[in-house]
Subunit: 306 residues, 3 copies
């Protein structure tokens, strides 16, 4: 881990870890899906399950990422990934993250053609059965989320500190070649890194301290983002407890040059951040001010969601 | 802003800010030019007006870049961009930079075909009239500069400290995929970042202190640079006052593989740097030694220019 | 491997592979040297043995880097590294590179203090004996090279094509935080990447075709390079056969701000490049023109060396 991977006090950004996780998942998924005959294909990320950042990772530590395919349906597969951080000066090792990702194989000839996934062998029937349950659950959740997130419109900015509008932040990014896979769509890991960046800025603006990613709710990738698009990533506080901040992050994409116009919602997720002092001890988070109808509505929608 | 964006005492390089400004200008310009029928096109940077770095930006701060189209001629458009730096720990905000950029829309089918720019609406006739004046002025300046810069040949190196030849520096850079737009020409912002890098090394060699970009004279992009080219960026002192150093930076491009051989002058500009102590207070700059005919000629040409 | 790692026809740069090799060596070396009591230390690269690029690596392939400690002396250790490239679409795997690197452990408290290396266990006495021979041979070669390279001064540029002066190239690079280890000295891999970049530009300028790194002669790291230095990397042709080009690359470092002034020679090596057509078939290399006394001298020195 290098200085650029970390914040000013040396904690590696959650987004960097999510990007590595996705890279491992993409490699193992793509390799597996090409073990059969037919079109060559790439594994495209469609969902990351809720994941927790168990220990912080620091500059100078070595991250070990291991991935395993744990379930296959006809057209998708689940990869479980573990990240361990090793301090090569002291020999200490700790588990930094565990995540589960869902991929679908897209043909390299025609990116809209979903290929079949070769089945894996399970150690036991129970294992297969548990995988099937996870598969059904995520399928359901993806459908629900898709309907809901299309309607979300971020509220207008607000100058009053500790309101939703005050810390709300957006970044735009022009998708370049290094952000993309072999078929010129953005790597899921690149998008997650941008999402974590925006969420981190929202959290820091709210509490004016050093903040770190504590966990990420399920991330759903509804639509692909092509090279040459502009992505707008918007984050806003949706809930604040004494200990943590929940931030909804929405990713909208629009092509600058293509015939097909219009902005579309591509990805969405909730990130949870905590506030830390200089010795990495948790600090209390200032409460969210409810001054406007919009932030009120936001709280209501939050209430309904939970 | 990350550690890699800054010098060793934490000031973000002017080149990083110029690159962000250009990215914003390119996005808004390209988006506007594709609102009409006809070939899809990309906005190519042809000129950046003189700009001043009003406040330094530091690692850990968040930079906000906002861009607006302020004038359109038949084949070009002006974008005005503002950069604000926000310290998210203290909430302080300051204006870091204001710039005006000129773009022309190039067809994606044929990069040499300049498309028409859809007109914008002006708030008042005065506004349009002022835009027209800026348009005429930059057009004139671009023609004049083009003729002049073709002839400039940097002097040979010199071992004596504080001479022009002593601090003169060149870098070469092989244009890679990430440096390029969708039609495989170098982003103007990438070139400006390289120019600032060389100018910074010249300035640091002259005064052996921490230096920062104070302002950039108008930058004219005379010819495009294609993917796979080698660019040579050369900087040399052209004027030194007690408070600042003026450095001329020339960008030459040559293709490594294309049939069309030969080096050509692609971009040129003057950068002004100041020298700072550890607390970011200005330091006096050592005077320029005039020991040789060549450095004398350089001073003369400087005199004529001003 | 991403688009940014490769040239315009998709071959991954040798420099990228050298950088990965060094990262693996540094991790395993540092881990081993910290298994004993005493100051914490970092493994600093002092030499890379001659290495051949056995197969090209392409964008989209996955590189597997494995490293093993194969010899330890009192104050240094040898790491052997293998790079395999896997095409995850076809399942094909090939050996891309094998390299041997020598490290010495430097204390984190005092970078000039060389620590002791914990001994490893050998599978047999022969193995240990062979290691000792490699150790003695590299020690001798490092001393000889150090004396020789201090004196090399690159010839002046020349406008005539196919001369040494025509293709000679230099780049300057300001060492930033992400180039550095925890004790703020440049990673050996970063330097090797810059060296390969310059050598590639020299080769491409000589033959105006697609070129790739075929092999690298022993690279000796004579002196460390600190954060904030400017490095000047210069490459020039030293020998051309029908099939390949040999390029000497010299790395000079100078501090911009430190009290200790002056440029010093930090690293040197010979790179061999070959020229390829669009189907990756070797092309003949244009012969080197000997037009001046300087290029003649260069040929003579080449003759003596071989």
């Amino acid at each position: 881990m290098r200085p650029n991977d970390a914040n000013i006090v040396g904690n590696v950004h959650g987004g960097i870890i999510l990007k590595m996780i996705e890279e491992a998942g993409c490699i193992i998924g793509t390799r597996h899906c090409n073990t059969q005959n037919g079109d060559r294909c790439l594994a495209a990320l469609v969902r990351v399950e809720k994941t927790e950042f168990l220990s912080p990772v620091f500059i100078g530590e070595v991250a070990h990422v291991t991935a395993e395919i744990t379930y296959t349906s006809k057209h998708s597969l689940e990869v479980q990934v573990k990240v361990k951080a090793e301090n090569i000066l002291t020999g200490n090792e700790k588990l930094a993250n565990k995540a589960a990702l869902w991929y679908v194989p897209c043909s390299l000839q025609n990116v809209d053609k979903i290929m079949e996934v070769p089945p894996i062998k399970y150690a036991s029937e129970e294992q297969e059965e548990e995988g099937r349950k996870r598969y059904e659950a995520q399928k359901m959740d993806r459908l629900e989320t898709k309907a809901r997130i299309e309607e979300v419109v971020p509220p207008p900015p607000n100058q009053e500190q500790h309101t939703v509008g005050f810390s709300q932040s957006s970044l735009i990014h022009l998708v370049g070649p290094s952000d993309c896979t072999l078929h010129n769509y953005v790597h899921g890991g690149v998008t997650m890194k941008l999402m974590d960046e925006v969420a981190g800025i929202v959290a820091a603006r709210h509490c004016n301290t050093n903040i770190v990613t504590a966990s990420v709710d399920a991330i759903n990738f509804h639509r692909k983002i092509k090279k040459g698009c502009v992505v707008t990533v918007t984050g806003r506080l949706t809930f604040v407890s004494n200990k943590s901040m929940e931030i909804e992050v929405l990713v909208d994409a629009s092509s600058l040059v293509d015939a097909e116009k219009g902005k579309y919602r591509a990805v969405s997720a909730f990130f949870t951040f905590i506030s830390l002092d200089k010795d990495n001890k948790p600090l209390p988070v200032p409460p969210l001010k409810v001054g406007t109808i919009l932030s009120l509505l936001s709280e209501v929608s939050q209430f309904i969601k939970t």
